[in-house]
């Protein structure tokens, strides 16, 4: 029988070499990753950014897939978008608490305030490769998975909705966006069907209890010197008026009356499915948020 050494030497040497070369390339290049193959990959990369806290961001956005639509290059330096698809702001806050990062300000999305923290995800995001190793070897990070790199390179070459905003300032980009307000192409049939489904969703049970949790959590953040701002992403006007959205909005206003609560103007913006903003509209919303918060 072949020994362990003869059977695996080339396997192990090749694997070690491949990992070393990849890690070196990523460390030297540090490409910008802006496309992920799926929600899970995007969530893991965003969670990792929070847990590692590289660059010491001063403002962190906590939210759901609604905020995932905002491209990173449409946010100012020092801002970190920790919106997580399929989860709510509570999971982002749990990640923030698990990390050593201490931002000066957190922007908390209220659209999904009824969702509790996904603690299993917070646990998963911390492994299987130890965070300390990922901090020092960026090539091992979830963000720099080869598939993410491949997609980001392809997306950059293709342009369109995935194009980088260009080399000018963010303020200029926001101004130039005004001319493209009708730039989104969406399917009216899909939007109509999804709006009908979304407006029929019931008011979440246990909303008041969830708000009590939120109040305690946000007060703790404030006591640590963090400025807390609540905001609501614009969605389809009918969905905005639905009983569910209205109930969340009212409960937030009643439970957290002292916090600043921004409601972004959704006039003229398009969604792809009643909920998620189309690419140009998402950039508009990002600009509106920046304007409302004040940079």
């Amino acid at each position: 029988m072949p020994s362990f050494t003869s059977s695996s030497r080339t396997v192990l040497v090749t694997a070690a070499l491949a990992l070393a070369i990849y890690a070196a390339v990523i460390a030297l290049w540090r490409p910008t990753i802006h496309l992920y193959p799926d929600q899970d990959a995007s969530n893991l990369a965003r969670a990792e950014r929070v847990l590692i806290g590289e660059g010491d961001p001063h403002t962190v956005i906590l939210g759901s897939s609604l905020g995932v639509r905002i491209p990173d290059d449409w946010l100012p330096a020092g801002w970190l978008n920790a919106s997580l698809g399929g989860k709510g702001a509570a999971t982002g806050l749990a990640l923030l608490r698990a990390s050593s990062m201490r931002p000066r300000r957190i922007l908390v999305e209220t659209n999904t305030f009824d969702l509790g923290p996904d603690l299993a995800f917070v646990q998963d995001a911390q492994g299987p490769i130890p965070l300390a190793l990922r901090t020092w070897v960026p090539g091992l990070r979830a963000e720099y998975r080869p598939i993410n790199l491949l997609l980001s390179l392809a997306g950059r070459a293709r342009g369109g909705a995935h194009a980088h905003r260009g080399s000018g300032s963010l303020a200029e980009a926001c101004l130039s966006l005004q001319a493209q307000v009708q730039g989104d192409i969406v399917s009216a049939e899909i939007v109509g069907r999804e709006v009908a489904r979304l407006t029929a969703r019931p008011v979440p049970s246990g909303l008041v209890a969830r708000m009590v949790d939120w109040r305690a959590a946000l007060r703790a953040e404030q006591e640590r010197g963090v400025e807390v701002i609540l905001f609501e992403w614009p969605v389809d006007p009918e969905v905005m008026r639905s009983p569910r959205a209205a109930a969340i909005r009212t409960t937030v206003a009643e439970t957290l009356p002292t916090l600043r609560f921004l409601r972004l103007d959704g006039e003229g913006l398009a969604t792809e499915d009643g909920l998620h903003l189309a690419p140009v509209s998402a950039r508009h919303a990002a600009c509106a948020l920046l304007h409302a918060v004040g940079g």
Partner: protein, 461 residues
């Protein structure tokens, strides 16, 4: 415990270190038994009782089938009890729903029985039980003389609970496994098999199947109504690749782990999507199940020895039951009959002298046709609700005007490409060094690009 979990890595290291200690040599089988029971009981300890009961009945029935005064009766009882256990735990709800319609009429006790959880691996370990009872009765493997109940029970238990193949196979026939039970030495480990099967298996599972699972999660209705026709078709293709990578990956890991413990398990897949006929497909896909069904069901039904019509009927029966074996829903039976009908029609065409042509182009067309047919059939696996299947197919035909997602197409192409290469470039064509270098790259990919851990698809069966 999942093969792709950290806790399994620790468990395996502990098992192997103790297993090969010289002082443990006499107790290797007992140690493997203990490890396998811990493996099985890790998440659902309350199901251990059923596993032990099933193994106990199999042990006594197979012993009686060899030494008892009425071997045929003992074998029959053993087979019926195993199938009865499977029917009760797996098909109770389906039978009750089909017969009674309204489950509320059953009452609280009956209802409680219907909601019993499906014990993990029950489809596999009851088939092992059936195989042992029949192979014992047929005298298909050499047994120690005289056969003693206690060592026989110990060996039976190991055959049924051996952890690499306990939950999702491969289905090993008793005649293949029982003669292998005995003392194993560290120096006799086939390391090439261990490394090859484990690296390839984990690559297929963690890099391909787990990542494709994120895409194929969109094969769901009514969400399917919002996707373009091309997206829906490409997602089906992705599911075809995912289910192969998931199950072939599991089987390879099982073979590699068994090799590490000194046991040989049969291969379960042989580049199935290169099959140029439906019969060929079933010689390449889930080979251990096909072989089991052939030996213990198709041949006893008469196989092809009772005339053409009976042969076609036998094929339909075997595949229909094979479909139901996968899951307790009528869509699985339809999936089985879908394949049964294809096999019967193919057989009919052959019987009528239709060969389908022998040239390369004709073979390529046949491969494509079989692949398309098989891939369409997987929809019944992914969407057990038959109404959803129809809705999905309707959406394919109506959503032509929607724009497909270039991102999705690129991601799926990236993950399907290794499956295509695996099929077109068999490792036997590579030099030993080249093969090891590729395995090294795959190992690197496992570290860098594994998807989030998902349970193996076949665990649900």
């Amino acid at each position: 415990m999942l093969f792709n979990s950290t806790v399994f890595g620790v468990f395996l290291a502990l098992v192997v270190i103790v297993y090969y200690r010289p002082a443990m040599r006499r107790w290797q089988v007992e140690w493997l038994l203990a490890a396998s029971l811990v493996f099985y009981a890790w998440e659902q300890p309350w199901l251990l009782g059923l596993l032990l009961l099933s193994a106990g009945i199999t042990s006594v029935a197979s012993y009686a089938a060899v030494t008892g005064p009425r071997p045929a009766l003992a074998a029959t009882v053993g087979v019926l009890v195993n199938l009865g256990v499977l029917a009760f735990f797996k098909y109770n709800r389906l039978i009750a729903e089909s017969l009674l319609g309204d489950l509320a009429r059953i009452g609280s006790v009956g209802e409680a029985l219907l909601y019993l959880p499906l014990p993990a691996g029950i489809s596999f370990y009851t088939f092992h039980g059936v195989s042992l009872v029949i192979d014992s009765w047929r005298g298909k493997y050499p047994r120690p003389q005289p056969l003693r109940l206690l060592p026989h029970s110990r060996n039976t238990l190991l055959y049924i609970v051996f952890f690499p193949q306990l939950v999702a196979g491969p289905i090993v026939k008793a005649a293949q496994f029982m003669p292998q039970i005995g003392e194993k030495r560290w120096g006799e480990i086939d390391w090439r098999s261990v490394v090859h099967h484990c690296v390839l298996g984990y690559f297929l599972k963690t890099v391909i199947a787990d990542n494709l699972a994120q895409q194929t999660a969109y094969i769901a209705c009514p969400a399917c109504l919002n996707l373009a026709s091309i997206d829906l078709l490409v997602l089906l293709l992705a599911y075809s690749a995912q289910i192969f990578a998931d199950f072939c990956g599991y089987s390879m890991i099982a073979i590699g782990l068994a090799s590490l413990l000194g046991y040989r398990l049969p291969i379960n897949f042989n580049r199935p999507y290169l099959a140029d006929s439906f019969a060929d497909f079933w010689r390449r896909w889930h080979i251990s199940l096909s072989s089991f069904l052939r030996e213990y069901l198709y041949l006893p039904l008469g196989g092809n020895r009772r005339g053409r019509l009976r042969t076609y009927l036998n094929l339909m029966i075997v595949m229909g039951l094979g479909g139901l074996w996968h899951g307790a829903a009528w869509s699985y039976a339809i999936w089985g009959l879908w394949h049964g009908a294809a096999l019967a029609l193919e057989r009919m065409a052959t019987d009528c002298g239709f060969s389908g042509g022998g040239g390369r182009v004709a073979r390529a067309m046949r491969i494509l046709a079989v692949f398309a047919f098989v891939t369409l059939g997987w929809l019944l696996f992914k969407l057990p609700n038959f109404g959803d299947v129809l809705q999905y197919l309707t959406a394919i035909s109506t959503n032509m005007q929607l724009r497909p997602s270039a991102l999705r197409l690129l991601v799926i192409a990236a993950y399907v490409a290794p499956i295509v290469i695996y099929h077109l470039l068999p490792s036997s064509r590579l030099s030993e060094r080249g093969r090891q270098a590729i395995e090294g790259l795959l190992l690197g990919a496992i570290v860098l690009n594994s998807g989030s851990s998902h349970a193996f698809i076949y665990f649900q069966f």
